[in-house]
């Protein structure tokens, strides 16, 4: 039994067939996931997808209905939170209101046999780490949202945990502050070199901070990979649609006269990447990113080339977006950099658009 995934030294957390049921509702369903030591992994998904429940099972605040949680090689299912080496930064922060900032931070150390003087020293160090020197004696109620956030971080980190769990760490912050904190969290992770497991529904946040992202939808793992891999090679329709923006063309596989497999959607044929292992008649979707589509002269050189009518031109500062419609009533979204020669107001015009099939993915169709 010692040869399982969980006993590999570089696997800090291993979830095996993890499931959690609340009454009739399956919040998490047969989730299997490895978290590598020292990586920043984010559980990303829409609200209610089960990502927070999963994180809570790692922290010990929920008991799995089925499956196993391994932390640093040991089975942790029955271990209460106070016996686990994980530390959690909660979504609502949960700073103790009747204690000062210093007392909050030092609390965890009182269970590690650290004496009073050293607790204070380490608390001051932790405050420095999160850029909050001088706030040791302050009452928690007097802090701003961003400051409270950092105190919660310091409180968890001062005990030097090997694994830090973060539940929507930046949810309560306003946009400017959130962007700054994303960078700071990433730096903190690089500096401490411990394992971070975060939960968020904000894909931009996940893409910015994570080494790898696990996309979770309806309690199940869709795909886990690096941000780039997820963006360029989504493995399911959900991932293609959730990460970034994608044009989704729905149809089925056909074979043309020359024996080449294509996608047929509403009467229009699309060339698909070679090597796709679908069979004729399979219901599929084609996903193509807006920035991979050319317009005008460049489009004519592409192997998927169509005439389209521009319905809308949106100026977005750094880029321009065109909403066009093809002959088969397919709506396509195209993004062009503002500085490019083809970034003009084109609403109402008929233009040529095109892309190479290599810039697309074909996936099994999941939606109706």
């Amino acid at each position: 039994m010692k040869n399982g995934v969980e006993s590999r030294p570089q696997v800090d957390v291993y979830l095996k067939d993890l499931s959690k049921r609340f009454g009739d509702f399956m919040a998490v369903c047969d989730l299997t996931l490895e978290v590598q030591k020292g990586e920043f992994l984010t559980l990303l998904g829409p609200s209610g997808s089960g990502k927070t429940t999963t994180l809570r099972m790692i922290g010990g605040f929920e008991t799995p209905t089925r499956g196993e949680v391994y932390i640093q090689g040991d089975l942790a299912n029955d271990k209460p939170p106070n016996k686990r080496v994980t530390r959690t930064v909660f979504q609502d922060l949960a700073l103790f209101p009747h204690m000062t900032v210093g007392e909050n931070i030092e609390y965890g150390l009182s269970f590690q046999g650290v004496n009073k003087r050293e607790r204070k020293t380490r608390a001051l160090e932790a405050l420095e780490l999160v850029d909050l020197e001088g706030l040791h004696e302050r009452k928690v109620a007097t802090l701003s949202g961003g400051q409270k956030q950092r105190v919660a971080l310091a409180r968890a980190l001062v005990t030097q945990p090997p694994i830090l769990l973060l539940d929507e760490p930046l949810g309560a912050l306003d946009e400017k502050l959130r962007e700054r904190m994303q960078g700071e969290l990433k730096n903190l992770h690089k500096k401490l070199r411990i394992t971070f497991i975060a939960v968020t529904h904000n894909q931009e946040e996940a893409l910015t901070m994570s080494d790898r992202i696990a996309i979770i939808n309806r309690g199940m793992l869709e795909q886990v990979a690096t941000p780039r891999e997820l963006y360029e090679n989504p493995k399911t329709e959900f991932v293609a649609d959730f990460i970034g923006v994608a044009n989704i063309i729905s149809g089925k596989i056909i074979e043309d006269n020359a024996g080449v497999k294509k996608l047929l959607s509403n009467g229009q044929e699309f060339l698909i990447p070679s090597g796709e292992r679908f069979n004729i008649g399979d219901p599929v979707i084609l996903a193509v990113r807006p920035e991979r589509i050319e317009i005008g002269d460049k489009a004519k050189k592409r192997r998927n080339c169509f005439s389209a009518e521009v319905q809308n031109t949106l100026y977005k500062g750094a880029s321009v977006e065109y909403y066009v419609i093809l002959g088969n009533d397919q709506e396509i979204r195209i993004r062009v950099e503002s500085k490019s020669s083809s970034a003009d107001e084109l609403t109402g015009d008929r233009i040529t658009i095109g892309w190479n099939e290599g810039d697309t993915v074909v996936l099994k169709r999941e939606s109706e």
Binding site: P80, N82, T88, F90, P97, A156
Partner: protein, 270 residues
């Protein structure tokens, strides 16, 4: 338009003052006549007449100190048990889903008339062969005070978010430490309030004490006996004394309650 609202405001004030007078006049009258030195039941005629004669006479009453001691002990025991039970019910209340049913159960004894409650307890104790004593009185008083006292800590307990307990456990705390470091500091104001309530209600309670007392009578039973037996005006002095102590304790309870509310409100913003 202005005339109508002035009329409304004035009549509201008049009603308020009348109500307050109605509430406070009898007790105030009692206090005043207790300071009349003669054996007549009247308000002292001259300012120079005000005297503490009957208060001093209280010191010579033989059975009085025992009755006071008994009431105090019963009160303290009631306070202790009431605060313990309200702590437990507060913790249970947080976890329950059918909170309103629980609250209803807790409040229910209020609707049992005092004499019915007292009588049924007395009969019940006889049934299970428990003799009347100080402890039976305490039990009766705890049952009496619990519905009122339990409400007081509920405010504190709602300020105790489950998140605090989870955070404490995440950092390494278990059972006792969670209670000592998190639950108790945040709820102790409410628990103290419950204790104070229990003490106060017990001190002034008559009917249950009367039915459940053993050999030693409580203060209220003593006073009842004195009234029946046609005693001297020192009874008014005793009443005045109890009134003063009660008012004092109520003030403390109110201040404490206000402090809890103030603290809970600022915690709730976190």
């Amino acid at each position: 338009m202005g005339k109508v609202s002035v009329l409304k405001r004035v009549s509201l004030w008049v009603l308020t003052i009348l109500a307050l007078v109605f509430i406070f006049l009898p007790s105030t009258y009692l206090l005043v006549i207790s300071l009349e030195p003669s054996e007549l039941e009247r308000v002292p005629t001259k300012l120079s007449d005000f005297s503490l004669r009957w208060y001093i006479r209280l010191l010579h009453k033989e059975t009085l100190p025992d009755a006071i001691r008994q009431s105090a002990m019963v009160g303290l025991l009631t306070a202790g048990l009431t605060s313990l039970f309200s702590l437990l019910s507060g913790m249970a209340y947080r976890r329950l889903r059918k909170k309103s049913y629980f609250l209803g159960l807790l409040i229910f004894p209020i609707f049992v008339p005092g004499i019915v409650g007292a009588l049924s307890l007395s009969v019940f104790f006889r049934l299970i062969h428990i003799h009347s004593s100080m402890y039976t009185v305490v039990l009766g008083h705890v049952l009496y005070a619990l519905p009122y006292a339990s409400i007081v800590p509920l405010v504190s307990f709602s300020a105790l978010k489950e998140g605090f307990i989870e955070a404490a456990r995440d950092l390494g705390a278990s059972g006792f430490r969670v209670f000592r470091d998190i639950v108790f500091p945040l709820t102790r104001g409410g628990i103290l309030g419950a204790a104070l309530f229990g003490f106060l209600l017990s001190l002034n309670e008559f009917i249950r004490a009367y039915f459940l007392s053993g050999y030693q009578e409580t203060l209220s039973i003593y006073m009842f006996g004195q009234m029946k037996g046609g005693a001297d005006p020192s009874i008014y002095a005793l009443a005045g004394l109890i009134l003063s102590v009660s008012i004092f304790l109520v003030l403390i309870a109110l201040i404490y309650y206000a402090l809890i509310r103030y603290r809970s409100r600022s915690f709730a913003q976190l």
